[in-house]
Symmetry: C2
Subunit: 537 residues, 2 copies
C-alpha cells in the first residue's frame, strides 16, 4: 500500500473539490457571512501564504482566542495545513492561566476576536514568544490597541497567495493542534494532537454507528472551538461537506433557536447547560425544529429529565457522548442497538442516559478495586483508554506520569459498564469515597439528592474517618424561591430506598452555595475544606 | 498521540465485545448456520491457535478457495489476526492460473470448500509450497481426497485455544491480505493489502457519506469473498456490528431473494450480472424487499435501465461504486448531494449511472491528451489514484512499473468528471481509440449501439489507419430469438444523433459471438485479431 500520510489539510482540499458549492454560514461580531467551501479553501490558502510571509514555520504554534466563526475555521486548516500547529486557547480561563498557556506553548502569533483584545492587552507584558497579533474584525479600520505588531485578518488575506499549496509531504505524526485542559490543582496541562489522530477522529465522527456527520447535514457546533477543537465537528463538517453554521460570539439561546429554524440545522453539539437554556427558549417561543436529527451532548452527564424533554416533547434524538481533552475527544457515543428499539420508553431513556459504547478504533480497560470490572452495570472501575487519537503525554509537563503509564491513558473517571458495553460515569477517582474497602459514588448520591424538589444543588465529599477510612458527607443548597426547608432526616429518608445503608451520607450540611470552577463543575477540594471548617466550629 | 497500530484483528475484538449477540447467518453446502459474533470470535481464536500448531508464522500466506460463508469470514480475521496473510484465490480462474497464483504467493496452507477439492487435486503435483490442506465441511467424516496432509476445519478448531490472543504488537504496514487480479496478457498480478489499508478502507465503508454500514444493517455480501475481500463488506459488517448474511456456495437468484425477505436484508453488494438475475426473480416471484435500503453495485458499469428498474419499480436506492483489486477496492461512491434531491427523476438516474465521487481519504488526478482534464463531464483522461488503501506495487512482478509511477496508481481507466466531481468510466486506456489527435470512447459507442432493440452485444475496437492513426470498427451480435436483422447503415443511422461525425465507426461487422473473459468482459485483443482476419478474407 502507498505510504500516504493522513493530513488535516487534505480534508479541506476534499471539500474544495467535491463540496465547492456547499456553505459555511458564520455569525461574527458585526454581521452574518455566507461563504462556500471554495471560498473557505481560497481564504485558507491565502492565510497560509500570509503566515509564511510573517515568518511562521513548520512546528510553530499559532494561537487563537476566538469564538465559533468562519475565520476560526480557516485557521483550523491553515495552521496544520502549513505544518504549523493550531493552538486554541480557552478565553474563559483567568488572565494568569492564559498568559501561562501562551508562554508554555511558545505561541508565535495570536489570532484574537475583538472582544478578547482587552484581555490580551492586559497580559501583553507577560508574553514571551508572541511576535504578532491579528484581530479578526469585519471593520475596515484596525481597532485601537496597544498590541504590536498588530494586523487585521482580512488585510493579511489580501497579501496571501490564493493558490498556496497545503504541505502534504509530512509525517502524519507531526503535531497539528494543541489544547490545554484546566487541572484540579496547578497550571493547565497541554495536549498535542497529531495529524493522524485528528484525521482518524474525524473519520470516527462520520461513521453511521456514531455521529454520522455527512453531506446531507447542516451542522451547528455550539461547543466552543476553544474546547478540544469543538469536539472535531468543524473538521468533520468540512471533510464530509455538511453545511456548517457557526453561531459566533456571545450567542444566546434565542440565536441558537433562530438558526436551527432558519438554516434547517440537522445536528448540533454542546454541553448540557446549553441544552437546558435552549429547551427553555424552545418551550417559550414558537420554533420549527423539525430539521433536527440529533442533539449531541457531552462535557458532562446530561440529566435524565433533559434527555426525556428533548426526546419526548421535541421528538429529537439526544445523543450522549463522552470524551476529554486528552482523547481528541470522542471516545463513546450513545446509540440504541437495533434489538433495543422495542424497549419501553423508560428503558430507552435509561439507556440514553448512559455515555454509550466505545467508538470503533478505541480500546478500553476498566480497573476496579479487584482487577477488571465485570460488565454488569454495577461493578465500578477506573476507565483506561488506548487508541490512535488518545494522547500519550501532557506537553512538557511533569504530571504526564500520573495519567499515562503502562500504555494506557488513566482517565480518572470511575465508570460502570453494562452488558451491552455502554459505560456510565459514576465519579472521578479522586471524588470516589472509599469506605471500608467498598467504593461509594459521590455522583450517584448527588443525583439522588438533587432529585428532591426542594434541593437546588448537592455535592457529596468523602471525609477522613478513623474506622472506615472515608465516609460520605452531603452538602446541599436548597431552592431559593421556595421559602421552604427540608431536614437532614427527610433527605436521607428520601434517598434511602436507592442505596445500601452503609453507603448513605453520615451527615447533610446546608450551604448557601457550593464553590464551582469556571466550567460549572463542583470544586470538591475547596468544599472539603468548608466541611472541615464546619466541624471545627 | 499514542502509536497504536491499526490492525484487522482489533475489528473482530470490537465486535466480540460490543456486538456479542449480533448474528452471522451463513449458508454452507449442507446447512444454514447461525452464529453470534461471540461465537465467531471464539472460533477465530481457536483457528489462530490451531494454525500456530500447524506451524503457520508471521507473514506466511494462508490461501482460501471458498465461497461466502462464516468459516471464510473466520479466516478473514484469523490469518491477519496472527500476523499471517489472508490470500483469497479466485476459484473461477483456470487451473493453470490457480497453480501459478498459489506458487507465486508461496501459500503455506490452503482452506478449500468441498466443491473446489477436485480442482486442487488436479493441480496438487504442481504446488511447491503448500504444507497442509483444510476442507471446510459440515460433515463429521473427511471427504475422500488425494490431498495430504488433509484436515477438517471443525476438527482443527477443536485443538485450538478459545482464548488465543490477537497479535497487536505489529507494524500496521505489515501485510494482512492479498489478492491476484487477472491481467489482459500474461499471468495474474498480486496485490498486498496492509493492516492499515484494510482498516482505513473499512472506516470509509462505515461513513454516512458512502455505504454507511452500521449496527442497524443486515448486510449480505454477494460479491465473492475471493474478489478483493468481497469489497471489504465482511470487515465492515463485523466491525460495525451488522447482522451478516453469507449466501454460500452456488447461490441462485432465488436464494438471494429468499434471504432478503427472510432475514430483512438492508444492504447487499455485487456486480451488475447478479442484479439483473435478482431483478428477474423479484419480478417473477412475490418477495417482500421492503427492508432493503441500498443495493451496492460495482465491478462494471450498471446499465441505466437496471438502475431505473431497482429505483423506480422496487423503490430501492441503487448505489454505483468504483474500484479495483489495486484499490482495496472502494474509490468512488455514487450518492446524490442534498441540493440534487429536487432534480427530475431522469436527471437523478443520469447522476446515479455515474460511478460517483471520491470517498474521503483518496486523491485523484485525471490526465488527458492535454494535461489535467477539466471537470466538465466531457474531457476525457486517465484516472490516477493516490491514498492509504491504494497499492504501491504488484507483488514481486515486473509489471509494477507500468501501473505505479510518479507516486500514483495509473488505473488504465479513462473517465470524465462532471462539475460535482462525479466520475464516469468511459473506457480502458488500451481500448480508447486515438483518431487524428482526438480520443474516441469505445464504450460510449458500444452503449449506443446496444441500445438498439435488435442488438444483443456490441464491441468497438480501434484498428490501425494510415491517415488517422486509428479508426473505430463496431463488432455486433444480433438478438438470437428475433429472427430479424439490421443493416450497417441502419445501426449507424441509429447512433448518429449522439456523436460527432468523425467519431462514428468506419464499419459494422456482424459476428455470432464476441470472445469474453471468465468474468464476462470483452476480450478486445482477440477481437482485433478477428477483425484483422475479416478484412484479410
Amino acid at each position: 500500500m502507498m505510504q500516504t500520510p493522513l493530513t488535516v489539510g487534505s480534508m479541506l482540499e476534499h471539500a474544495e473539490k467535491f463540496f465547492a458549492k456547499k456553505e459555511v454560514i458564520s455569525q461574527t461580531h458585526d454581521q452574518l457571512h455566507r461563504l462556500t467551501y471554495a471560498d473557505v479553501g481560497e481564504r485558507t490558502r491565502r492565510l497560509m501564504s500570509a503566515l509564511n510571509q510573517l515568518g511562521i514555520e513548520k512546528g510553530d504554534r499559532v494561537g487563537t482566542l476566538a469564538w465559533n466563526h468562519h475565520r476560526h475555521l480557516e485557521i483550523y486548516f491553515a495552521a496544520p495545513g502549513m505544518n504549523a500547529v493550531l493552538h486554541t486557547i480557552n478565553i474563559r480561563l483567568s488572565p494568569e492561566h492564559i498568559a501561562y498557556i501562551i508562554n508554555h506553548a511558545e505561541d508565535q502569533i495570536l489570532f484574537i476576536d475583538e472582544d478578547v483584545l482587552p484581555l490580551i492587552e492586559s497580559i501583553q507584558d507577560q508574553l514571551k514568544t508572541v511576535k504578532a497579533f491579528v484581530v479578526m474584525t469585519d471593520k475596515d479600520t484596525l481597532p485601537e490597541s496597544s498590541l504590536t505588531p498588530f494586523y487585521s485578518y482580512e488585510k493579511l488575506l489580501e497579501i496571501g497567495d490564493p493558490q498556496q499549496a497545503f504541505v502534504t509531504d509530512m509525517d502524519e505524526n507531526d503535531p497539528a493542534g494543541m489544547c490545554y485542559t484546566s487541572a484540579t490543582t496547578g497550571k493547565p496541562k497541554g495536549v498535542m494532537y497529531s495529524h493522524r489522530g485528528i484525521v482518524l477522529h474525524t473519520m470516527a465522527l462520520g461513521l453511521a454507528n456514531t455521529a454520522a456527520v455527512s453531506e446531507s447535514d447542516v451542522l451547528m457546533p455550539v461547543v466552543p472551538q476553544f474546547h478540544v477543537n469543538a469536539w472535531g465537528m468543524p473538521f468533520a463538517g468540512t471533510w464530509f461537506g455538511s453545511t456548517l453554521v457557526m453561531p459566533g460570539p456571545h450567542f444566546t439561546a434565542k440565536r441558537l433557536a433562530d438558526f436551527i429554524e432558519r438554516y434547517r440545522v440537522t445536528v448540533t453539539a454542546g454541553v448540557p447547560t446549553i441544552w437546558i437554556g435552549l429547551l427553555r427558549e424552545l418551550e417559550q417561543g414558537s420554533y420549527d425544529t423539525s430539521s433536527l436529527r440529533g442533539v449531541l451532548c457531552g462535557g458532562a452527564a446530561a440529566p435524565k429529565g433533559l434527555i426525556q424533554a428533548f426526546e419526548q416533547k421535541l421528538g429529537v434524538p439526544f445523543a450522549h457522548a463522552y470524551g476529554a481533552t486528552e482523547t481528541t475527544p470522542l471516545v463513546t457515543y450513545s446509540r440504541l442497538k437495533s434489538y433495543q428499539q422495542n424497549l419501553s420508553e423508560e428503558d430507552k431513556i435509561n439507556e440514553r442516559a448512559k455515555q454509550g459504547a466505545l467508538v470503533p478504533g478505541i480500546e478500553m480497560k476498566v480497573i476496579g478495586s479487584n482487577g477488571e470490572a465485570a460488565w454488569n452495570g454495577e461493578d465500578m472501575g477506573e476507565l483506561l483508554l488506548r487508541g490512535p487519537w488518545i494522547a500519550s503525554e501532557y506537553y512538557k509537563d511533569d504530571r504526564t506520569e500520573e495519567a499515562f503509564h503502562d500504555g494506557w491513558f488513566h482517565t480518572g473517571d470511575v465508570i460502570t459498564v453494562d452488558e451491552e458495553g455502554n459505560i456510565q460515569i459514576v465519579d472521578r477517582t479522586k471524588d470516589l469515597i472509599k469506605s471500608g474497602g467498598e467504593w461509594i459514588s459521590s455522583v450517584e448520591l448527588e443525583n439522588a439528592i438533587m432529585a428532591h424538589d426542594k434541593v437546588a444543588e448537592a455535592s457529596v465529599v468523602g471525609m477522613p474517618d478513623a474506622e472506615w477510612q472515608e465516609r460520605p458527607i452531603a452538602c446541599v443548597v436548597l431552592q431559593e424561591d421556595l421559602n421552604e426547608t427540608v431536614s437532614k432526616d427527610e433527605l436521607l429518608q428520601f434517598i434511602r430506598p436507592k442505596f445500601a445503608k452503609w453507603s448513605l451520607p453520615d451527615d447533610v450540611l446546608f450551604f448557601d452555595e457550593i464553590p464551582k470552577t469556571s466550567v460549572g463543575k463542583f470544586m470538591k477540594r475547596q468544599l472539603r475544606d468548608h466541611v472541615k471548617d464546619h466541624y471545627k466550629v
